[in-house]
């Protein structure tokens, strides 16, 4: 399948179309909504399922040096992407130091739903990937938060901070989504194929359908954010939300040359680097950098970068991975 075919097929997948439906519903001011409790249950399901599947995959394939290497690369990326992003934002936009740090932090961390959508696209292409990339996803969630905090402190040492950094680090490290992802990964690893056989009818079979429902909800939230917070985004900022993922992707592509990952694994690592968080990091930013404006970082991450990655980004990253590791 050509990259264009993939891009097209990706865009007309039920997942992407349900996201679009959500955005459309929000833009026409429909009263359609997903209750908070339902959204949390869906998110919990997705993280449990993806974590377990990754662990079961590792149980099958075993651990090797490439795994340690790739986890190290993930941590490095999560730390360094915010630094680059911060510099670019300060150069090209009028964001304050604190806002720039908060936005940059989101791009160092990852979007697990983008990751999941990429695994689905790989499945259509018949590409396998290393199961431990779930672990890489998990370790990439939090270093970016610390990076953002350090950047903000550098920019405005007096203002930023407040509560002790160690308290914040504890809160970030015990973040619910990290705990479920890592825990399910370990359980999947420990119980392997047998465990998988037991719960596959729950975490594998209906997975894509539940993802559709979750993406409908994400579309509603993104659309509402765009309607309400759209004015907070300057053209330069919107541009950042599109070119910066590509930059992170290119950077990661270079790095991947030395990791020996499969094509699928390379595509996923690139996707992780190019995706921006909108679940774990916003909550952490409210604690770490309360002065930063949530309308900016949430709208940019969920309203601009997420749909871009979902539609055009993933096929591009897959094509890039094919060049690098194919």
């Amino acid at each position: 399948m050509s990259i264009l075919d993939l891009a097209f097929q990706n865009i007309v997948s039920p997942m992407v179309l349900f996201f679009a439906l959500g955005v459309a519903a929000a833009l026409i001011r429909s009263d359609l909504s997903v209750p908070e409790a339902a959204a949390k249950l869906l998110a919990l399901y997705l993280m449990l399922a993806i974590g377990f599947k990754g662990g079961a995959e590792v149980a099958k394939s075993g651990v090797d040096a490439a795994m340690a290497l790739t986890i190290g690369a993930g941590i490095l990326l999560s730390f360094s992407i915010p630094v680059i992003g911060y510099a670019l934002l300060r150069l090209t936009t009028r964001l304050s130091g604190v806002d720039a740090a908060a936005v940059a932090g989101h791009y160092g961390s990852i979007s697990i739903v983008t990751f999941v959508a990429a695994t689905e696209a790989l499945k259509s292409l018949g590409l396998a990937y290393e199961g431990y990339l779930i672990a890489v996803a998990a370790v990439m969630e939090t270093p970016a938060i610390i990076a953002a905090l350090l950047l903000a402190r550098r920019g405005a040492p007096a203002e930023a901070g407040g509560e002790s950094t160690s308290a914040l680090l504890r809160e970030v490290a015990t973040n619910g989504s990290v705990v479920v992802l890592v825990g399910s990964f370990l359980i999947g690893w420990a119980t392997g194929a047998e465990g998988m056989a037991m719960i596959a009818p729950f975490i594998v079979d209906p997975f894509r359908g539940i993802l559709c429902l979750f993406l409908l909800d994400m579309g509603l939230v993104a659309g509402r954010g765009l309607r309400q917070g759209g004015r907070s985004l300057s053209p330069a900022l919107i541009g950042f939300g599109i070119y910066f993922p590509l930059l992170s992707a290119a950077l990661t592509g270079l790095m991947a040359l030395g990791l020996g990952l499969s094509v699928g694994g390379t595509a996923l690592l690139i996707t992780l680097a190019a995706s921006a968080s909108y679940i774990a990091v916003p909550a952490a930013m409210r604690l770490a950098l309360p002065e930063a404006n949530p309308a900016i970082y949430l709208t940019l991450s969920l309203g601009v970068t997420f749909p871009f990655n979902l539609t055009l980004g993933i096929p591009l990253y897959a094509a890039l991975a094919q060049r690098i590791a194919g």
Binding site: S33, V34, P35, E36, A39, K40, L42, A43, G162, E163, E171, S177, F214, D217, M218, L220, V221, R224, Q228, G229, Y278, I279, A280, P282, A283, A284, M285, R286, L287, P290, E291, N293, P294, A295, L298
Partner: protein
């Protein structure tokens, strides 16, 4: 029935900060607090709604504290110091209770 005057402090605050607020209240001279969910609202930071959010970022909670009048300032000051850095508001009103010793 005999009633005793107390103060009711209502704090509408963004949900990620809730744990810090309750940790703070634990250290202050109050006998308890009650946390209510908030569906949505509007203030200087704009409109928001809890619907569809899979995370606590962007959600709000409302915390009510019944405190003795003589403790009011001792409670308000640190609470306000925490709240003022975040999205939230604090209001105070008069209430009466039946069992004075419990607050």
């Amino acid at each position: 029935m005999e009633m005793h005057p107390k103060k009711r402090i209502d704090i509408v605050l963004e949900a990620p900060v809730l744990k810090r607020l309750t940790d703070l209240l634990d250290r202050l001279d109050v006998t308890g607090y009650t946390v209510l969910p908030v569906l949505g609202g509007k203030g200087h930071h704009g409109v928001w709604s809890r619907e569809g959010l899979p995370s606590s970022a962007g959600a709000m909670v409302s915390v009510t504290v019944i405190a003795a009048e003589e403790n009011l300032d001792a409670v308000l000051e640190p609470v306000f110091a925490l709240v003022k850095r975040h999205i939230g508001i604090v209001t105070v009103s008069d209430v009466a209770v039946l069992r004075s010793d419990r607050f």
